[in-house]
């Protein structure tokens, strides 16, 4: 709670300091620049292709990436990027500091497969037939009805960009009253080839506090994980085909922390996402 109050305090201070500088920075944005976006315009894109994201939860099917809508709207300070809501405190040509609210993405692993279904299979890591496994079975069954609700995190987000190089750091706190955990998100994207098409590599990591990890992967009386760090690597290729269509290919590999992998409901130590398809701009 104290950390959340601290984050709010910093936010208010930053808002006071930087609010007056936002407008002048926006004025430098040329319409022809691909990172500039028109204020007050709803932008809708649809990714259509073949892709999937593996699911680390035991006996869970991969999450298909076939039709993925991308919505964004930018006001003078307020913005929406898909499920992220934000308010820009400071903006310059290269930097921006935003107060954001963003969902906790771990829930996607549970959305298609309820815990009831997960526990129907042999998901226990204790040896079958032993007394230990029978106790765990009973305890897990008792908790199997526990659902992971939609949770939102809020906090500060800093991003830096120069052409196709970009960096992002977010500090977030859960605000929907489910687990009160914290999260750090960091990523940096580096262009490897920058021509009519762009090949880029992104490395990053997500740190989750013990409360956040426990909410999704812990089970009361059975498994209580501590904080976890999930590093990831992404390779992406993108080229503009015409003024409406662009081609996008990416592979995203995320290594799960042992605190998550050791959970009795998790069977994989990685999450792999692959996609090839077109992005259509409406």
């Amino acid at each position: 709670m104290r950390s959340y109050i601290t984050a709010i305090s910093y936010t208010i201070i930053l808002a006071t300091c930087f609010t007056t500088q936002t407008t002048s920075a926006a004025e430098n944005c040329a319409p022809s620049h691909d990172r500039c976006i028109e204020i007050g315009q709803l932008n809708l894109e649809l990714a259509v292709g073949l892709g999937a994201k593996t699911n680390p939860i035991e006996d869970s099917d991969p999450i298909p990436l076939i039709f993925v809508p991308q919505i964004s709207y930018y006001g003078e300070r307020f913005f929406i990027e898909n499920l992220d809501l934000g308010y820009t405190l400071f903006e310059s040509v290269n930097h921006s500091i935003n107060l954001i609210a963003t969902p906790d993405y771990d829930r996607v692993y549970f959305h298609r497969n309820s815990l009831q279904n997960i526990f129907m299979g042999n998901t226990l890591k204790a040896r079958e037939g032993t007394e230990e496994s029978l106790i765990m079975n009973e305890q897990l069954s008792a908790h199997s009805s526990r659902d992971r609700n939609i949770t939102y995190l809020s906090g500060l987000d800093w991003s830096y960009g120069l052409d196709h190089f970009s960096m992002q750091l977010s500090y977030l706190h859960e605000i929907t009253g489910e687990h009160h955990g914290n999260e750090f998100r960091f990523a940096t994207a580096v262009p490897l080839v920058q021509d009519l098409w762009v090949l880029s590599a992104t490395i990053g990591a997500t740190w989750k506090s013990a409360e956040a990890v426990d909410y999704y992967y812990g089970e009361k009386g059975i498994y209580s994980p501590s904080s976890a760090v999930n590093p990831f690597l992404k390779l992406g290729y993108e080229t503009q085909l015409n003024n409406k269509w662009s081609l996008k290919i990416f592979g995203h590999y995320e290594r799960l922390d042992n605190e998550i992998v050791n959970s009795p409901i998790v069977s994989k130590n990685e999450v792999l996402s692959l996609f090839i398809g077109g992005i259509y701009s409406f």
Binding site: H33, R35, D157
Partner: protein
């Protein structure tokens, strides 16, 4: 119900079906008459357009967010296959009025300031019927800002 079946089933059931009767006796004639009418109108329009060629410069005015109106020297020129008496008019601008008597071409330039699209017309000086018309469109640039960099996101 029969009609629905008929319309999807094709022409085989025409004789037995009331909607087949309708299509055969009313729908096709209406389509045919409409085609002839609109085709004739299009041909007439082309002939009309060929008679007088009106040109405007500029055709487009782009305003930045700080510019409330477009200020431009509008150059108007026209040519005709036959000599005509025409008057130049600008919609919603009664102060602009310039006429030619029995000419096959004309040129005119005027400094104008306008907030909305500007429509220039050539009208027959006697009957006031519209001979040709062109519009200068106004495009207003929106305000832009930097999009948030979000490399952490899967699709960014």
């Amino acid at each position: 119900m029969r009609c629905c079946h008929c319309s999807s089933g094709g022409y085989i059931v025409f004789k037995e079906c009331r909607c087949g009767f309708f299509i055969y006796n009313y729908f096709f004639p209406i389509i045919l008459i409409s085609y002839v009418y609109f085709n004739a109108a299009a041909v007439a329009s082309e002939v009309h357009e060929d008679r007088v060629q009106l040109k405007l410069n500029p055709r487009l005015c782009t305003l930045s967010k700080d510019e409330p109106r477009c200020k431009a020297l509008v150059r108007i020129s026209w040519t005709s296959e036959a000599k005509q008496s025409l008057c130049l008019k600008v919609v919603n601008r009664p102060d602009v009025n310039h006429c030619w008597k029995q000419n096959s071409q004309g040129n005119f330039g005027i400094q104008l300031a306008f907030k909305n699209d500007l429509t220039v017309e050539l009208r027959d000086s006697r009957t006031q019927s519209l001979v040709a018309s062109k519009t200068i469109s106004i495009v207003r640039e929106g305000e832009y800002r930097h999009r948030r960099r979000h490399p952490w996101d899967l699709f960014q």
